[in-house]
Symmetry: C2
Subunit: 330 residues, 2 copies
């Protein structure tokens, strides 16, 4: 049986192997994805992001447990993405240990990625891996990102629903720090809600929500092809971003959070935003692929010596950047 057939049957070893092929962008992985892609598009992709220390991993574990404990249990995959940093190097390993409580359950699949390399490459690898898991029949794919920054935005573009996790007890300055992340939120989670200051934190978040119009900006970045895309956010204003309190370590607030996630999925489907986000998501993936392919094609036509020579002349100010560009184009 081919690798992709085994994946379609839900064979865990085959899934693991294919995820590795896709993560490494091998020819075999590309070929299998071509075959599997027709079986994708069904899973609910949920992105979970927020600053370190907000308890994202516990929340992700609890989301998985509650999806499994629901009257109609859903199959859940977790993809933990860590754009590696010397400062957060330990996080993924810690998550793995904590996730052992889920590991006996065949309806749960957990995968960590700590790939180094470019953001574009990371986003492409993550997109491919969620497609493998989607084809393998997982109903919900939780994409957890560690760290803060552009990677969150890139990864969030992969998700239908984006949870942004916050905690009480951070000062006003800190609320401000998260403005960039807030923009991509569909649902706000105030975790560690048993801490003092939860009302103040919720008020601060509400204030920020009123200040801006989040989600409006989700798909506008890097979008140079507005003309061929349906207006992605035409209906987004109908969705009022809810704030939900949780104490993930105790499982408190999790049933309510699952309800909100289901409501958001229904909203996306009823409003047509599900299709629009799919389209925008695949548009982004296609653009990343084009960029990667064009750059690789260009690079294979320029020798190291040619490039080094152009760069030398640039450093010596004998060529301007644009003149160096001309020298390196066919």
């Amino acid at each position: 049986m081919s690798l992709q057939d085994s994946v379609l049957r839900g064979d865990r070893l085959a899934i693991s192997r294919l995820l590795t092929e896709v993560e490494n962008d091998t020819t075999a992985g590309q070929a299998a994805l071509n075959e599997l892609f027709t079986h994708t598009g069904r899973a609910h992709l949920v992105g979970i992001t927020g600053a370190p220390g907000t308890g994202k991993s516990s929340l992700v574990n609890q989301l998985a447990l509650h999806y499994r404990k629901a009257p109609q249990p859903l199959k859940v995959a977790i993809v933990a993405v860590d754009p590696s940093s010397p400062f957060t190097g330990g996080a993924v390993l810690g998550d793995r240990v904590r996730m052992r409580e889920l590991s006996g359950d065949s309806g749960v699949f957990i995968r960590s990625m700590a790939t180094r390399g470019s953001l574009g490459g990371l986003a492409l690898a993550t997109a491919g891996m969620t497609q493998v898991l989607d084809a393998a029949g997982f109903d919900v794919i939780l994409i957890e990102t560690v760290g803060a920054g552009q990677s969150e935005v890139e990864i969030a573009k992969l998700a239908h629903s984006v949870l942004v996790v916050d905690v009480p007890g951070l000062g006003d300055d800190v609320q401000a720090i998260k403005a960039g992340i807030l923009e991509i939120a569909d649902i706000l989670v105030l975790n560690k809600a048993d801490r003092p200051g939860v009302e103040a934190a919720e008020r601060a978040l509400l204030g920020m929500l009123k200040l801006g119009h989040p989600t409006k900006h989700l798909v506008q970045h890097h979008n140079h092809l507005e003309e061929v895309l349906a207006p992605v956010d035409a209906h987004v204003d109908d969705w009022l971003i809810p704030i939900r309190r949780t104490v993930a370590t105790e499982g408190e607030g999790l049933p309510e959070l699952l309800e909100v996630l289901a409501a958001h999925k229904a909203h996306l489907q009823n409003s047509g935003d599900w299709q629009r986000r799919e389209r925008s998501r695949l548009h982004t993936q296609l653009q990343d692929l084009v960029k990667q392919t064009l750059m690789a094609g260009w690079r294979s036509n320029v020798t190291d010596a040619q490039y080094a020579d152009a760069l030398d002349q640039l450093v010596e100010r004998k060529l301007s950047p644009r003149q160096a560009l001309q020298a390196l184009l066919p």
Copy 2:
């Protein structure tokens, strides 16, 4: 007289006009930059970043004032970059108002950018604008970024020296949030140092510095051409990232900060890192230009209808992303 000649003479109106041309990436702007580029490479580029609320703008103003008040006054340009966000939309205007105290001084030039659009485009525009100001004879160019995220890293790659600004009084959770920014710091500034908790904040920063090896990662991202670049960070370990306390609104700690900046510049020049950073910086700019040019060339060969058709088939799962890619390549 040509626009570029007027810029070389330091004509403020000409500088303003050319900055606009470069920001908009016009043909005239590109042509002028080609001519001017040979006059660049002298200015000390200083990036200033940090979370909103840390007082970056006051610090930038004070840096400019102190450079002007020094025994040997330096000409200072400020480029305030705001990758626009609905949440930070007001910041740039606020900065402009505050910077009025500098506006009578012909040795100071202030420019705000609130360009929407892709990060790559913003980094390219900022690079071009700093080159105009460099050619126009400014000794120090302060590049201030508003917001937090990938843009900081992109913009920081433009600078020789990166100041990361922090404030006391944020909890441990918050120190963690800044890990990604810390990685790009050459100098840490603890602003608002008259606040309680300054010792604890400094200890926390020192702890984080010991945890990781910042600056090591400055130029490794997106660097697919390691083989043609000299090892950029070979000597960086010699520079121990200093932490300096300031109260920018009172001008406290500013002379000491200028000393550290001068020391960092001397360190870069003596160690050869100045040349390595120049090379790495121009490499990044060249890569961005290649990417932009290849994508534009590809896009001009694909009709909107062709692209929309491929995207339709992708959304309908008739083509996989890689098959859609093949359909759109020549």
